[in-house]
Amino acid sequence: MRRPPRWKLVAWGVPAWAIVAFLWFMAIRDQPAALVIGLAAGLVALALAAGAIWAWVAHNRSLARRREAVRGGRRGAPDVPLVVATDARGRTVRIHPGAREARVVVARVEGDDKVLAPGDAP
């Protein structure tokens, strides 16, 4: 990861932080209440959010507990074999023997079929 040198990040950042400082200077000069209102609104929102999230997570956990009590929960991953018979365009997918082991596989379209066949490795 080639991070730019810190002086470059500082040089980029200083004008932006100056804008933020200017905004607060103007806000406090013209609307002194803005600071108090903004801070209070942020803290109230944070408290409400934390409460709502706690309640939502508790609800989700109770769901899982109830499901486990009734059905015993999900004990294993589904045992479904993956069979790719057709592709998204409806073409039949034909997989040649050896294609699953070959180092190089070539996919070509032959009429209404898609063929996956071993290719030439270097």
Binding site: A88, V104, V109
Partner: protein, 417 residues
């Protein structure tokens, strides 16, 4: 004109309130994830004997990536995992991508190549590769991404320990740094994307597994189906399909993957147009989630996505309306700013509080993350407007024609980025 002023005031209220409420929810949720999962997850969770680790196939779909795929393959060669297969897919590239992969074949016995004669897009390429993949877990990594050596072990632990896990997404970090746009994306991925992903895991469902690095249980793909090539963001759509079948999708911040980000405005706009279009397609396709009580764990993510889309539009409208009103000297603030100083200062500060929280949490995985604190204020000042405009540009066309009817093909052109 008084009507326009009234609209302006309501927009100020909505935009400001959303920033406060959303930031509070995201910060509180992400903190909960960081404290309860990241801090308390014992090392034993990740300590799994080699014999118990499932075979993994890493898919590396590529189109015209001759400049970047070599580094991706090198990074994969250094990955520490006992039963690994790397399946590079060349989707009919016009450049030398195939030659680069072929040159790596003798060096890495775990590497295989699927060479497609016809270019059909990323989703089709991955589906074709899955048909010949041997792994029980399928990991998809972008061809310009560089995976950390221990990332696969961290991902695999979730599949081994928790049967209901259907997918795991990792922690992408921009690596092609040096420009202002790239730095904005460092801030975005650390402070916005990672923070929101942590928050969404706390809610129970996530918006998307990153296309840069995502892992799927093979049998779950068999159950829910493969990637849909007609979607602009096939990763978001598959994430929602997996979760609708009540499988868990997890976020693993230890699975760090370096990735290339657009370094030109043109590249960024193209990327965001695709993301915006993809999200709207997914919301339209899976809108019925809101009608089913059994899908209620998905509601917070869906509602948040819809409100944020509306917010991006209104933000652009607010900015244009504000300057228009100021130009005719109505609603202006001291003829300098069309917006109240306190409002702008509060919105900026809350946005930066959210970004700071994200950067501090992510510092654990990227010690340089906090360097983003310096350029951070530019993110709400300039970057929001760019993203808002792209969202605005893509909404109406997508609503009018949600699906193209043909495969979505590659739009990546590294030579122009």
């Amino acid at each position: 004109m008084s009507t326009l002023n009234a609209i302006f005031q309501w927009l100020l209220l909505f935009i400001g309130l959303y920033v406060v409420v959303a930031a509070a929810i995201w910060i509180a949720s992400a903190m909960r994830f960081a404290l309860s999962r990241e801090r308390q997850t014992a090392e034993a969770f990740y300590d799994i004997p080699d014999d118990d680790l499932p075979p993994i196939t890493v898919l590396l779909p590529a189109y015209a990536e001759e400049r970047t795929i070599g580094a991706a393959l090198e990074a994969l060669r250094n990955v520490d995992y006992p039963d690994l297969e790397v399946l590079a897919i060349d989707d009919g590239s016009p450049d030398g991508t195939v030659d680069v992969v072929l040159a790596h074949l003798p060096r890495d016995p775990r590497l295989r190549l699927l060479r497609k004669e016809v270019n059909e897009g990323k989703a089709m390429a991955m589906n074709d590769a899955i048909a010949i993949a041997r792994g029980e877990v399928i990991v998809v990594i972008d061809a310009d991404a560089q995976i950390a050596p221990g990332a696969l072990r961290a991902i695999a632990a979730h599949f081994v320990r928790i049967p209901r896990v259907g997918g795991v997404t990792g922690n992408p970090r921009p690596i092609n740094l040096g420009s202002w746009l790239a730095e904005m994306q460092v801030v975005e991925f650390a402070a916005q994307v990672s923070l929101m992903r942590r928050a969404q895991v706390s809610w129970g469902r996530i918006l998307t597994m990153s296309g840069v690095v995502s892992a799927f249980r093979r049998s779950v793909l068999a159950d829910v189906g493969l990637f849909d090539p007609s979607m602009a963001t096939e990763d978001i759509e598959l994430t929602w399909r997996i979760q609708r079948r009540f499988y868990d999708v997890r976020y693993e911040p230890r699975a760090v993957v370096g990735m290339g980000v657009p370094t030109t405005l043109r590249g960024l706009i193209r990327q965001r147009l695709r993301w915006g279009r993809g999200l709207i397609q997914v919301l339209l396709r899976h809108g019925s989630i809101l009608l089913h009580w059994r899908n209620r764990r998905h509601w917070p993510v869906m509602i948040e996505a819809i409100i944020s889309l509306v917010w991006w539009h209104l933000l652009v409208v607010l900015i244009i309306l504000g300057f228009a009103l100021a130009a005719v000297d109505i609603g202006g603030y001291e003829n300098v700013s069309p917006f109240p100083w306190g409002w702008v200062a509060a919105v900026m500060t809350i946005a930066m509080a959210q970004l700071t929280a994200g950067l501090l949490i992510d510092r654990r995985y990227d010690p340089t993350a906090t360097d983003g604190l310096w350029p951070m204020p530019w993110y709400p000042i300039g970057y929001w407007f760019i993203v808002g405009c792209t969202t605005l540009a893509v909404t109406i066309p997508t609503l009018l024609k949600p699906r193209s009817g043909t495969n979505v093909t590659w739009k990546v052109d590294r030579s122009r980025e």
